[in-house]
């Protein structure tokens, strides 16, 4: 059997019904396009999150109070009250693998300067915080251990807060009101941009954690703290030391559950990767459903086509086409529909993912595996959904088919 002329016949049949062929392939185009766009989007998000986490430093640990227990209920991490400022100081003093510690006390606050006001997040931290989280001061200074000890009403503001409150003015040295308390701005931070989760990291105001606890929140415990180990290799040692120290300080007996939790960035990165991975898979499989719908469209049109061309099939059989010649002809048509749809879908998917990556400011990650898989899958869809119509065509009785009007 000669394949080339049969392919030519199939192509010509598709070209004859241009609109119909295009609409049929459109199902596959949308399916493949959305799979590629979604997978690319998911992977872009994943890479962005991973980069963000890596940029926090590989030697960082987070210790937080365990969930608060009331009766049988356990609250979320960081809602407990188990960690005290003394615990934090003890960690800094006694754990040899720990380099620096900074509590993190968060409050949502409204900041007023002159007739401007802005609602932002105030984070109470220690003087070690900029080193742990890679913040740098653009103008002025960060606060000193003295400010922390004295619960001084001083603030270091992020770029966004500076822009919102001080249009063009130099904020350093100005007095602002935070929850109606006067604070002196002593520094403005360099911009950090958006986080991997789309938050504006510059929309922030840092105050000494002592000030935040006493004056803004009136609490005596520390919800969580950032800790840097002396090196990234020492992270696990630091984690062990902190856990031992805190169990001892909190009088937790062996076998009893911790009332705090120490996490390192590897854990966090894994969790984040898992989350975005699940998201990618979910988006990809929803898009995959549309591929199947596209395949059903192919089957539908091929069945119509077989019925329309019954007489043609009869003629071909009368002049000597074997069943498999006829089957091959229709199968090639559906495979070409699938393949053409797949290739156009790749173009569409690449285009859409480019636009999306521009919108979200993520890198455009095109997975060659996803592209190859969608080509193979669209051909497979063509074969799978084209087989039944082709088989139906091939099993026609030539006498009946020739009589068909």
């Amino acid at each position: 059997m000669k394949l080339a002329p049969i392919i030519r016949i199939a192509l010509r049949a598709l070209v004859r019904n241009k609109a119909r062929s295009f609409l049929t392939a459109l199902g596959i185009i949308i399916g493949v396009g959305s799979v590629i766009a979604m997978v690319s989007l998911g992977q872009g998000a994943q890479q962005q999150v991973e980069q963000q986490i890596a940029s926090m430093g590989t030697n960082m640990l987070i210790v937080s109070s365990g969930g608060q227990r009331s009766g049988g209920l356990r609250g979320a991490m960081g809602t407990g009250t188990a960690l005290t400022p003394e615990d934090i100081q003890a960690i800094a003093r006694e754990a040899p693998a720990v380099e620096a510690v900074s509590p993190s006390v968060n409050a949502s606050v409204t900041v007023v300067y002159g007739n401007q006001n802005w609602t932002t997040r105030a984070e109470g931290v220690s003087e070690s915080y900029p080193a742990i989280r890679n913040w740098t001061v653009a103008s002025g200074t960060f606060f000193t251990p003295m400010d922390v000890r004295a619960s001084a009403r001083v603030a270091v503001i992020g770029r966004t807060v500076a822009n919102q409150l001080f249009a063009g003015e130099d904020p350093v040295g100005r007095m602002i009101r935070v929850r109606n308390l006067p604070f002196r701005v002593i520094g403005v931070l360099d911009s950090k941009g958006q986080s991997g989760f789309g938050q504006d990291q510059d929309d922030i105001l840092f105050v000494p954690y002592t000030t935040a606890m006493k004056k803004l929140l009136s609490i005596t415990y520390v919800p969580s703290a950032f800790i840097s180990a002396v090196s990234s290799e020492a992270t696990f040692a630091a984690q062990d030391q902190i856990e031992q120290l805190l169990r001892q300080r909190h009088g937790i007996r062996p076998g009893q559950e911790d009332d705090f939790r120490v996490r390192n960035l590897t854990d966090i990165a894994e969790t984040a990767a898992q989350t975005t991975g699940v998201m990618t898979l979910l988006l990809g499989s929803i898009a995959g459903v549309s591929l199947i719908v596209g395949g059903i469209g192919i089957m539908n049109i091929m069945l119509v086509s077989v019925t329309e061309r019954t007489r043609e099939i009869g003629i071909r059989m009368a002049v000597g086409a074997r069943s498999r010649h006829v089957k091959m002809q229709f199968l090639i048509e559906s495979v070409v529909l699938g393949l053409a749809g797949g290739l156009a879908g790749i173009a569409a998917g690449v285009g859409v993912s480019f636009v999306l990556s521009q919108v979200f400011g993520w890198p455009q990650l095109l997975s060659p595996a996803a592209i190859l898989a969608s080509v193979i899958f669209s051909v497979a869809v063509g074969v799978f959904f084209g087989y039944y119509p082709a088989h139906k065509a091939a099993s026609l009785d030539p006498i009946e088919a020739l009589r068909y009007e």
């Binding site: 059997m1 000669k2 080339a4 002329p5 049969i6 016949i9 004859r16 007489r311 043609e312 009869g314 003629i315 071909r316 059989m317 009368a318 002049v319 000597g320 086409a321 074997r322 069943s323 498999r324 010649h325 030539p398 006498i399 020739l402």
Partner: protein
């Protein structure tokens, strides 16, 4: 030398629900090489069933059919497709050309299902179109051709594989008188000059008179089988007739 067609005691019974229909009852027939046979009969006489059987489109319920000395009734569907492809040329009443496909490609169709290389297939198709006098029309589509021209394309298609047997089912049924004579002239020429064996089904005695032998069927049986007396010659009739209104190409 084997006869082209040799059928012995062929029965065909359709049992599609209700009373069985006996389309062929004990038909035996031998057609030698170079014969020109017309099969006549009213509708329901079994002539179409006989045609389908001769054309290897249908299998008899009982009996033997030797085509060119080969028993074909017990062959698989694929083998019968090959036989149709290589040994039989079909010409139908309704032409049965592929629409939106050029004349040359219609003629080429049977060669598509052979191992003949494309270049050779094209050469043979051109030759066949030349034989029916349509060499200049190879790129015309069926809807750009007259009925007679369409039937000639169909005849070229039937001839392209050099078959042992040309089967024509009411080939002039859709054509006017003059065109019918032209087609019969073509058949007579092919039979006379190239020795092609032709079996033609018709219900018109006028058309049957162009053949050399007439077989009449009734109720699934052959009731008469005799040579044609006063055989008509299409060539002479065409020469005597007034010139055609539309231009007719010289037939090879």
């Amino acid at each position: 030398m084997n006869p082209v067609i040799e059928i012995r005691n062929v029965f065909k019974t359709y049992t599609g629900g209700g009373e069985p229909v006996h389309a062929l009852r004990d038909v035996s027939l031998t057609v030698g090489g170079g014969e020109f046979v017309a099969i006549m009969g009213a509708s329901g006489s079994g002539k179409s069933t006989l045609m389908n059987t001769l054309g290897c489109l249908d299998r008899p319920t009982r009996g033997e059919y030797l085509l060119d000395g080969t028993e074909v009734t017990r062959l698989s569907a694929d083998r019968r497709a090959d036989i149709r492809n290589r040994k039989i040329g079909f010409v139908f009443q309704g032409f049965n050309l592929l629409s939106r496909t050029s004349a040359i490609e219609n003629v080429e169709l049977p060669l598509l299902y052979t191992d003949v290389p494309e270049r050779e297939a094209l050469r043979r198709s051109r030759e066949a179109l030349g034989m029916v006098g349509l060499a200049a029309r190879e790129h015309h589509h069926p809807n750009q051709l007259s009925g007679g021209q369409q039937q000639r394309v169909a005849i070229a298609r039937a001839l392209v594989n050099h078959p042992s047997l040309l089967l024509a089912d009411e080939p002039t049924g859709n054509l006017d008188t003059r065109t019918s004579i032209e087609i019969m002239n073509l058949f007579q020429e092919l039979n006379r000059e190239r020795g092609i064996t032709i079996v033609l089904v018709t219900h018109e005695p006028d058309i049957a008179a162009y053949a050399k032998r007439i077989i009449v069927m009734r109720d699934g049986r052959i009731v008469r089988d005799q040579p044609v007396e006063n055989r008509r010659s299409a060539a002479e009739e065409l020469a005597a007739a007034p010139p055609p209104e539309e231009e007719v190409e010289e037939v090879a």
